[in-house]
Symmetry: C2
């Protein structure tokens, strides 16, 4: 399954739509964000996706993890949010 | 129960300790953050608190909400994270 990569410039409603679509299909979505602006957009998107999925009777919660990723040979710490029905 | 208020300058390990303590006692904690820097610290703290609580066999997840709050007569949109055992 694809990871939803979020930047500080991502539109939170677009990310929310992606989260809702993947959770509906797979009952599990993963969102990755690096830096405060990106993490903020990811959390806002999760709050919006909650509203979308409540209409389908799905009550989501998110579980945050630290994860190390390689970008241009440099190790960066990202936040991964696992989004699943409760 | 008190809401844990997080700023961009909060130490994420200190916030994590507060979350873990309140979840152990009440099975429910609420974290409030305004702005990207604060939301980022709040999510990092939740990820760290997960590690603390796993040692007690408690598996937490968080549920993000938008919430309107008044600061100096101005309405601001905050993010509220509800942290509970899964």
């Amino acid at each position: 399954m694809d990871i939803i990569k979020v930047s500080a410039h991502s539109r939170s409603t677009a990310v929310a739509g992606a989260i809702a679509g993947i959770v509906r299909q797979h009952k599990h979505a993963e969102v990755q964000a690096i830096g405060a602006g990106a993490v903020n957009q990811a959390i806002k998107a999760t709050a919006i996706a909650r509203g979308y999925l409540e209409l389908d009777g799905i009550n989501i919660c998110c579980i945050p993890f630290f994860t190390e990723i390689q970008i241009e040979d440099q190790e960066r710490t990202a936040i991964k949010l696992v989004v699943e029905p409760r």
